[in-house]
Symmetry: C2
Amino acid sequence: MNLDSLQFASRFDGVSGSAIREIFKLIAKPGMISFAGGNPAKTALPDVLCAEIAKEVLQQNGKAILQYGATEGYAPLLESLKTYAEEQLGCELPAVLPVTGSTQAMDLLCKALINPGDVILVENPSFLGNLQCMHLYQARLVPVESDENGIIVEKLEEAIKTHHPKMLYTIPTFQNPTGKTLAADRRQPIAELAAKYGMVVAEDDPYRDLRYSGTPLPSIKSFDKEGWVVFLGSFSKIISPGLRVGFMAGDPRILRKCTVGKQSADVHTSNLTQAIVDQFLRRNLLPEHIKAICASYKEQMDAMMEELNTFPQGTTYTRPEGGLFIWVELPEHINALELLQKCVERKVAYVPGTHFFCDGGHENTLRLNFSNSTVEQIHKGMAVLREVIAEASK
Amino acid sequence: MNLDSLQFASRFDGVSGSAIREIFKLIAKPGMISFAGGNPAKTALPDVLCAEIAKEVLQQNGKAILQYGATEGYAPLLESLKTYAEEQLGCELPAVLPVTGSTQAMDLLCKALINPGDVILVENPSFLGNLQCMHLYQARLVPVESDENGIIVEKLEEAIKTHHPKMLYTIPTFQNPTGKTLAADRRQPIAELAAKYGMVVAEDDPYRDLRYSGTPLPSIKSFDKEGWVVFLGSFSKIISPGLRVGFMAGDPRILRKCTVGKQSADVHTSNLTQAIVDQFLRRNLLPEHIKAICASYKEQMDAMMEELNTFPQGTTYTRPEGGLFIWVELPEHINALELLQKCVERKVAYVPGTHFFCDGGHENTLRLNFSNSTVEQIHKGMAVLREVIAEASK
């Protein structure tokens, strides 16, 4: 029988995973200025330090690192991570679970909670990778309305009453793709609504340390009294995405289920990469490293903002206080998908905004990343983008 | 609302993941002689070499290793892995996909193929971790009959005709938990049945290099003409389980679906651990390393066999040509679950065989691992086991 007769699982119906991958193939061309990914700058990746640390941990504890580890996590990291995360989130954390990038945290949370047809409330637009994750668990994604200060609490309660969601998925700080931040005074009400109605909140917060202005805000998790909020943390933006280490923090009842799910997902996260992250925490290397990254990213964001300020009338954009992304809305008649082709011909790339909406549309939007381009590249690339938009505006 | 009211996803119904974990907690006690895990020997873990390699790859290619990688795999490993796997399996492989341990390969394959209620044929007993994986995808597991030469081809065809399975899951070489090997003359017929009836075969073969006698057998995959066989490979037993690197090899149509599934599972396997495995392949370090491991494991297995030979009458056991496990059947009235408690009191542990059967029962069986104990420990621990069995036989 020919393999073409093979039927794949129905969770893949409507999931192609290809739109963004096609863009990344375009971008791989030499000389391309890419505002498309969410990649850290090359200069932000601590290769010399990691080479030294990797050697040291393998010399000192190599037999344990190379052996099977516990699904619950590498013991030294469990210790340092708890201290770190509690300080970060400003609350006690009864359980933490190291995972293979915070992408796995989302996957395990869906595995633990979602039956096909269950409703997950999502910001609209939201992070593409996790939208795909939720689609693969056959969740029904229902958008909840946001304004410039993030999710509108009244609209959230309405949506909860109407749709009885199992979960809310939110990126509260420097959101992907919009760069928006959930206002401080909306964070406690969201935690309270979760407990009032029995809804899990997945608080996905990988950008919180990348703040270039304003003051840090308390996590939603810090207002969580009953355990309904699960925090998803990442070291991808502040150490390295290539190591694939993130964590979940929350109630032990939920994390235990995720741990059982992880047993048959990958047994455990690589002990070596967990040990490297452990050393960053133990040696307290993060504060200085983050300070250096932020100084550089601020210059890059400012350069992009400066350029956007000169864009044709009718173009609006967010003004984030941190993170990696600026969100742009073009005049309604301009299609950012079509524009992309013209930009790519001139060696500039971005991600069309429509891909981030769980219900499509919004073809006049686009997401710009500034972390992975030098200030010089930003000026050059934005000039191209401005010209292409100006032509399309005629 | 109290979190106790939270309902977990129904895929967890009947999945506790706890039986084996409880055993591993018992084993963690100091002085325990453990025949329970499937862990490589400490001496088989190349810590000095890995320390050197980790440092070198991060010094030479650190920026790329610490950056986001492709879901499809780290480019240098893709190249070296294809050459390695084609030589290993004795056939051309149109696609390979590095994964986070071969456990993830099984998870991605189920994600790609299995709808709730789909039938998967399994050896009975079989590997516990992957049984749990299949349960979490809500597959219906149907045992297929084996004899001392592995799956019986006629029984397999009967089962296919009766149950219309989506997949056959098999560990053809030095099977976990029995140590049995699928005979050479049954391998081509299984590949042919897969193509005849349109059934995917998951050929899970992590032990094939650990051969202490006899001659290597061709993979089922090498007889696959239409692409129905997916090979699951592992570096856990021949380099390190703690690194979490395995691979899948097979038809690009199936692997592409697994790649899309992997995007939202963990984006990609750690570039660092992929780069380390790549160096083992490029520097051709495996042949010598495997030779050293096998020499040592053979002595350990021989010591265990020698002890088993003196066990009370009515105890039978397999005589594997390689791998990590010996399978023991006690007289029917002896319960290996109850025996375990007595053994643990005397600081010896194993895994009761009942856990490996998808339909339970077989309480008089147990699995012994010899790789993770010294010859001295094996003699000492087996003496205890013999005494405990002798007492129970009275």
